[in-house]
Symmetry: C2
Amino acid sequence: MTASTNGAAPDLSRLSLNQKTVNAATVPEVVELCRATGIGSVGLWREPVADFGLQATVDLVAEAGLRVSSLCRGGWFTATGAAFEEAIASNHAAIDEAAALEADCLCLVVGGLPAGSRDLSGARRQVAKALEVLVPHATEAGVKLALEPMNPIYAADRGVLSTLEQALDLAAPYSADVVGVMADTYHVWWDPKLPQQLLRAGNEGRLLSYQICDWITPLPVDTLLARGMMGDGHIDFESTTRWVTEAGYTGDIEVEIFNADIWAADPRQVVDTMIERYASLVAPYAG
Amino acid sequence: MTASTNGAAPDLSRLSLNQKTVNAATVPEVVELCRATGIGSVGLWREPVADFGLQATVDLVAEAGLRVSSLCRGGWFTATGAAFEEAIASNHAAIDEAAALEADCLCLVVGGLPAGSRDLSGARRQVAKALEVLVPHATEAGVKLALEPMNPIYAADRGVLSTLEQALDLAAPYSADVVGVMADTYHVWWDPKLPQQLLRAGNEGRLLSYQICDWITPLPVDTLLARGMMGDGHIDFESTTRWVTEAGYTGDIEVEIFNADIWAADPRQVVDTMIERYASLVAPYAG
């Protein structure tokens, strides 16, 4: 693959730093990393935003001229009883936070099987039910809900939503102004129907977010932290980025990496590497 | 879930012991385990069959009155150049062995991405090409080729074939007398289209094998050995077995478990546990 930069500074206006990639960084530190490097957008997480303060984050992001590509995360809908009601309450709060931050979308990680349950179909129905409850609030708040299909490696314990096709089917009853999908390369790279379902998402106006990181082998011991920097693994970012672009996606391209080694590294070095890989492996194919 | 046995000896005529479940056992030891417990069928692997001798295995299995539910395995088609030709030669030999053993099918694990390659579509085309080369020989030998979709956790390094739908699409150009699919619960349990694609496989006459084991979490460090005994994980064997049965499958139900703890245990105890779990979790729903 070739670098697009030819020595010139790469265009980072569509690059987004998801703060999970520099996991130990506070909101001000993440904003400063973006400002110092010319990254145009940031993906925020609710917990560090709460730590710094919602209004303070809104102000800081505005002052830095950054967009918020996503707020992570709502979801965890597969609990039952009181835990389900708690999850719904938490998601209502997340919608308000996403509205305040003017985030492009609220990321929904739907949750795995309830403890001791093997009822996968039931858990999936629970997700549909939660969506039904949340859509009116999201509509009113002007927040787009982004269903995130997850790699089947997490089907039991994190996300019973496994493919873009399934996510789009789940979104179908609702306006594309309110419910769409995220495509995270780590979760969807293996899908034989990926190009087709990306195009469908674009045609339906539901492709809300393009997240990138790599699939590395052997998988680290903690498979939650199995994501790699682009270029370190097996994913073809050229093809995937072309498909996303052909689907009409012009939004931010967000790098979200869960990886113990990357989390232990110097955040600025991580961001510099991320920029370099983005510029050579992704940006040239992003239209 | 309820046991079907009510104190009576369970019917094990459709149960098959894949010899990988008792990994250290030789062919005679595996056959003896089946004979001693009343298991009706055995899934064999090429390497231990070669160790004991092909004709000796044919004779021993016949003498024991066992069926051979599958021969594992052909495949590894995604290599290029000379390695591809070697793989094809090995698959030709596997077809002859499957014919000699009168195996219900030859299991095909198609292989992952070639080293250093990120061309997933290309690897998948390579599988189609290999199939085209092998079908005439399989037809002549009367051997059914069973494409095994693998859990996407293995898409990079073991199997670029990821769903039953994809496997059935790949099989479609060929007679159902020669090319079909295997459904292994570990690989397909998460698939939102599982019931639909099992039914399709049945309708097309291509459901050649039903393999069972469980998806356990947390995943063991070596994810190749991440399979669990039925009942130890998250898979709903009742629903899956009902779907397989509704798809018209009346063949053997083969237990194939890769798991270091199970491999280290006493083989007879493993088989006894397997029988107990099969009788309570699977057999009642197998029609």
